[in-house]
């Protein structure tokens, strides 16, 4: 929605530039630590995209996304480590199991706003407790060690850089998926529900069915992200999937801008990378981080995506006035 008033040509130029930067960065900065953190940001960007579908396009405030991330991560880790299943199958199973798990949320899809948020929060707490206490399956608080690197058929993606590129490929696939879903019949139904439930019902849309489907789609994508998380870190601990992680994913979407896919991705990068940049500030870094979040929110409801598009519009207008680019005809009437 938020990108609609922006000329498509510039939008594509921006996307290609960002993608090129993502591809080149590991070549320019090949340090393990840098590539690892960037890979993590990409994984959370996938999870943030999934929440963006729920929050930004269906109006469903979920604080349960860490649960699906955890279910995906543990499914993939258990299958590949304990049962020696190849990574590809573990990865696919992660999405499917997370998707199935989200079906338990069908009864609460009728809840709205804060009530839905609290119910999904409860779901995160339960899943965390299961991961913590079912030691025979998850290793309990000890966690799971020595998880394999990802692999694709005969190719092992051993090492930070190959894994980074695989995560990037999954991010692109997730982005394209949602980019196609949002203007589709499915995506329109979700937006109709978000904007007016009565009008949506009277137009023939089954609210429970579409809300549930939104949760399943988001859970499958988050499950894939969870699998990547497990194999990217090669170590899992239940405390990676507490409700705080759900809040973090929500922060990414809010900072990036609710209702924008590009916003969710940039929000994930900011929320993941900013604390790392602030490491030199030592114990003050979370204070600085918190303050910056407040400032980000204070700048406007549409987050980074809003700021970017305002800045880009101004830039384009400036270039047009200078005659650097041909002026486009105004679409406004």
């Amino acid at each position: 929605m938020s990108t609609s008033q922006f000329p498509a040509g510039y939008l594509w130029a921006a996307r290609v530039t960002v993608l090129a930067i993502c591809i080149v960065v590991p070549v320019v900065y090949p340090q393990r630590y840098v590539v690892h953190i960037l890979g993590l940001a990409i994984i959370f960007a996938i999870a943030a995209l999934a929440l963006q579908l729920l929050l930004g396009f269906a109006g469903l405030l979920s604080i349960g996304q860490a649960a699906f991330l955890g279910i995906g991560a543990y499914t993939s880790a258990i299958l590949t480590t304990t049962y020696r299943v190849p990574f590809e199958l573990g990865f696919i199973a992660a999405g499917l199991v997370a998707g199935f798990a989200s079906l338990t949320l069908v009864p609460i899809t009728r809840l709205r706003g804060v009530y839905l948020a609290v119910a999904t929060l409860g779901f995160t707490i339960i899943v965390h407790l299961v991961l913590l206490n079912e030691e025979w399956l998850t290793g309990g608080s000890f966690g799971m060690l020595n998880i394999t690197w990802p692999s694709l058929g005969p190719w092992s993606l051993k090492g930070e850089t190959p894994t980074y590129y695989f995560c990037l490929a999954v991010l692109i696939a997730s982005f394209v998926t949602l980019h196609r879903l949002i203007p589709s019949r499915f995506g329109r139904a979700l937006q109709a529900i978000m904007l007016d439930e009565d009008a949506a019902r009277a137009s023939g849309i089954d609210l429970t069915y579409y809300k549930s489907q939104a949760f399943v789609v988001a859970a499958v994508i988050t499950g894939f992200a969870g699998s990547l998380f497990a194999h990217h870190s090669q170590y899992l601990n239940p405390n990676d999937f507490t409700f705080w992680k759900s809040i973090e994913i929500l922060l990414m979407v809010a900072v990036g801008g609710i209702g924008s896919l590009a916003g969710a991705v940039s929000g994930a990068f900011v929320v993941t990378l900013l604390p790392e940049f602030l490491r030199s500030a030592d114990e003050y870094r979370m204070i600085i981080f918190g303050t910056m979040l407040i400032i980000f929110m204070g700048l406007g409801q549409r987050g980074l995506a809003g700021l970017f598009s305002v800045a880009a519009m101004r830039l384009v207008a400036l270039l047009e006035r200078a005659g650097a680019v041909p002026a486009r005809r105004s679409k406004r009437q």
Binding site: M1, L181, R185, R188, A202, S203, Q333
Partner: protein, 264 residues
């Protein structure tokens, strides 16, 4: 003529209030039926019941002799009952075209996987929806506004957009809840013409309206509600001369002047 919609002792209670009380009526296939009455008479509740947005407390409802009592709104919409809302319920942030396309939801079939893979069938369905929606916008006279945000439309145009969204799926029964509210005289005239044209295409219309000239100009029969009950039913001529309707709703000519002189 046969009954398209039959209400049989339909009732809806809100707490201690009977908003609609044992209402029985038949809407004939192809007619424009007016539904009038004072504020709080239960007109909008009746439309909410017929469109399935709220379930009845008791009673029966049949569409084309099929019992549809208690069916949810989305299923009744699929059966061909569409409506507009008194307080405009548009999808404000979406474009005019997208608003109308949502009205075609039940006519489509493609889901998540078809959209992700952008199958040929899915793309043809989208094209069909765009085409049908533009045609509906043409009918109401908003074809030039398709790309604008619904929230950017003028008030009268928003009313027309709601009608476009309701008729795009070619309903068999169209429920209009005060479509002329807030319109000026020329807009009201256009609206009456539009309602007649929609009806001429075979759509039965149930029209709730306070503008008596709109009711008198377009309806073949009128049902009058008062306190949730049916007060009277008949042709516009019969209703205009019905004593109990005059007392409850229409008022006598010169009534206000007599009140004024009584207090003078």
């Amino acid at each position: 003529m046969s009954a398209l919609l039959t209400l049989d002792l339909l009732a809806r209670r809100f707490g201690g209030v009977m908003a609609v009380d044992a209402l029985s009526m038949q809407v004939e296939d192809g007619e424009i039926r007016g539904l009038i009455g004072p504020n709080g008479a239960g007109k909008t509740t009746t439309l909410d019941l017929i469109s399935g947005l709220i379930p009845p407390t008791s009673g029966r409802m049949a569409l084309e002799q099929t019992n549809v009592t208690g069916e949810p709104a989305h299923r009744l919409a699929k059966r061909g009952i569409r409506r507009t809302f008194q307080n405009l319920k548009l999808f404000a942030e979406l474009t005019v075209l997208q608003n109308v396309m949502i009205g075609l939801h039940a006519q489509g079939t493609s889901g998540v996987l078809q959209a992700i893979m952008a199958t040929g069938k899915q793309r043809r369905e989208e094209q069909m929806m765009v085409g049908e929606s533009l045609a509906a916008l043409e009918t109401v006279g908003l074809a030039g506004q398709a790309g604008r945000a619904a929230s950017a439309l003028a008030y009268g145009h928003r009313r027309l957009l709601e009608i476009a969204r309701a008729i795009v799926a070619r309903p068999i029964l169209l429920l209009l809840d005060e479509p002329a509210a807030g319109l000026n005289a020329s807009e009201t005239e256009t609206l009456v013409g539009l309602i007649r044209r929609i009806n001429a295409q075979g759509v039965t219309v149930l029209l709730v309206e306070h503008h008596m000239d709109v009711i008198m100009a377009s309806c073949s029969r009128i049902t009058v509600l008062n306190y949730g009950q049916k007060l009277a039913e008949g042709t516009p001529l019969e209703i205009r001369s019905n004593e109990s309707v005059i007392a409850a709703y229409l008022g006598r000519p010169g009534f206000e002047e007599r009140i004024a002189s009584a207090y003078a």
